[in-house]
């Protein structure tokens, strides 16, 4: 283990999931399915201690996320603490619960950037996906408040089969709101999104069209010397090689869940691995020496076809969560890879996406009722 620890770099990115509480019900939420049974949250002093430890280890980027981080009343205090430590502080929010006053308060506390998530380019679809009637208007107002206060702003859209036709409208909306960055994040199938995969996954033809529209819009932006940056995260279900997930397990990213559980990514909680908790162990020990974080470091854990693959240093065998969800064993090659003996499961999902008919009303929305129902079942 010590030999391994010598090769491990610092966790440059820290994601603080302050809470699982959220006023929205997006059916692709990355929070655990059983979030409703996990109510405990670190208190202010415990979070500040995590931030101090992370910063001392070299973390420079800090995300406050959730759930909806705005439900934490101590957010200004956490922002101020983080900024004082030298973090670049990002608030990742739905915009619900935000006010122009809070936007200013956070700026005074030293918040560097706000990312506002949208669900679609029009109120009807946006609010249907979010499960909230007032969401869209509030998001518009808050995006404007964020820019008025002088912050750089990222607008994030999770893309799926029900909004993938809106690329031009979405980008026009973002430009209109003066976004600095737009993330078009095609849905990744973990947590609630995995439950709802059939109802969310776009077809290949939908995807090709969307990609063309985005590329065209990008070219237009460049012609107009408009600095808005557009990031289109394509879905790995249409790839033949897996993504180098998280740039490698325990390589750059450290997530701390609301109850203090430390994770190599925000989905890893679904794996049958005993992850450490910041309430019981120093962060440095967790990162460099815990069995949870060392579980998939290096490549000695890899079975075939990864073990002898000359691309293993590039993609690390893909995503452990995806391997687990699709094959029942997290050690396996990510089935996205065409060399995986389980690649047929990806092909089946593509075929299903070509024939899917489910509407929004058929999706399982992320709320406490469904969480308890699914977790019991």
């Amino acid at each position: 283990m010590n030999e391994l620890a010598d090769k491990v770099g610092p966790p440059l990115w820290l994601l603080a999931e302050l809470t699982y509480r959220c006023p929205l019900q997006c059916p692709y939420c990355s929070n655990p399915i059983d979030y409703a049974s996990q109510k405990s949250e670190l208190n202010t002093e415990q979070w500040l201690d995590v931030l101090r430890q992370g910063r001392a280890m070299g973390a420079a980027q800090l995300g406050f996320s959730g759930g909806e981080p705005l439900v934490r009343q101590d957010l200004p205090e956490l922002i101020a603490g983080a900024r004082e430590l030298g973090y670049y502080t990002n608030l990742i929010t739905s915009g619900l619960g935000l006010t122009a006053d809070k936007v200013d308060t956070f700026a005074q506390a030293g918040l560097d950037h706000i990312q506002v998530s949208f669900q679609a380019s029009d109120p009807e679809l946006n609010n249907a996906v979010a499960g909230s009637r007032k969401a869209f208007d509030q998001k518009l107002a808050m995006a404007r408040a964020v820019k008025a206060a002088g912050y750089p702003m990222v607008l994030n859209f999770v893309i799926h089969r029900h909004n993938i036709h809106q690329m031009n409208d979405i980008l026009a909306l973002c430009e209109n709101l003066d976004a600095d960055y737009v993330e078009l994040a095609t849905c990744q199938y973990y947590g609630w999104a995995f439950k709802n995969r059939e109802g969310l996954m776009p077809s290949k033809s939908q995807l090709v069209k969307a990609e063309q529209e985005v590329n065209q819009y990008r070219a237009d932006l460049m012609d107009r010397d408009q600095p808005m940056k557009v990031i289109f995260v394509t879905p790995d279900y249409y790839e033949e090689r897996p993504k180098g997930c998280m740039n490698g397990w325990g390589s750059l990213f450290l997530t701390v869940a609301p109850d203090g559980t430390a994770l190599p990514c925000h989905s890893a909680r679904l794996l049958p691995i005993d992850f450490p908790n910041v309430q019981r162990q120093p962060l440095n020990d967790i990162w460099y020496h815990s069995p949870g974080f060392n579980h998939y470091r290096g490549d000695s854990w890899m079975p075939e076809p990864c073990r002898s693959c000359d691309e293993k240093g590039k993609d690390f065998g893909g995503c452990r969560c995806q391997a687990y969800l699709l094959t029942g064993n997290a050690d396996n090659a990510d089935p996205v890879c065409s060399k995986s003996p389980h690649h047929d499961r990806i092909l089946a999902a593509r075929t299903a996406a070509d024939h899917a008919t489910a509407g929004l009303e058929d999706l399982t929305y992320r709320n406490a009722h469904n969480s308890r129902l699914l977790y019991r079942g």
């Binding site: 440059l12 280890m57 980027q61 030298g86 560097d112 950037h113 702003m153 990222v154 600095d180």
Partner: protein, 87 residues
């Protein structure tokens, strides 16, 4: 040469001891800068012109010889990346 560069809002330049380098931080991103890029950006303060920045660097690093071409090339790239803007 008379132009004054400054970091764009949302970009932060700082020294990271653990990485032993200067970095440029921005929304959800970080660029690790090499020594010369770090030395140049350290001079970008929104007050001094390109000319003064070059003079300051040449004074700090006399062994490096004339630096105008390198500094201008880097600043042009930084503009292209939208890291900095002209005041």
């Amino acid at each position: 040469m008379e132009q004054i560069p400054r970091l764009r809002r949302g970009f932060r330049f700082q020294w990271e001891p653990v990485q032993n380098s200067h970095v440029l931080l921005y929304p959800e991103g970080m660029v690790k800068l090499n020594d010369s890029a770090g030395a140049i950006l350290a001079e970008v303060d929104g007050a001094r012109s390109v000319q003064l920045i070059i003079a300051s660097l040449e004074q700090k690093y006399p062994e490096a010889g004339p630096l105008a071409a390198d500094v201008e090339a880097f600043l042009a790239e930084a503009i292209r990346q939208h890291w900095i803007e002209w005041l």
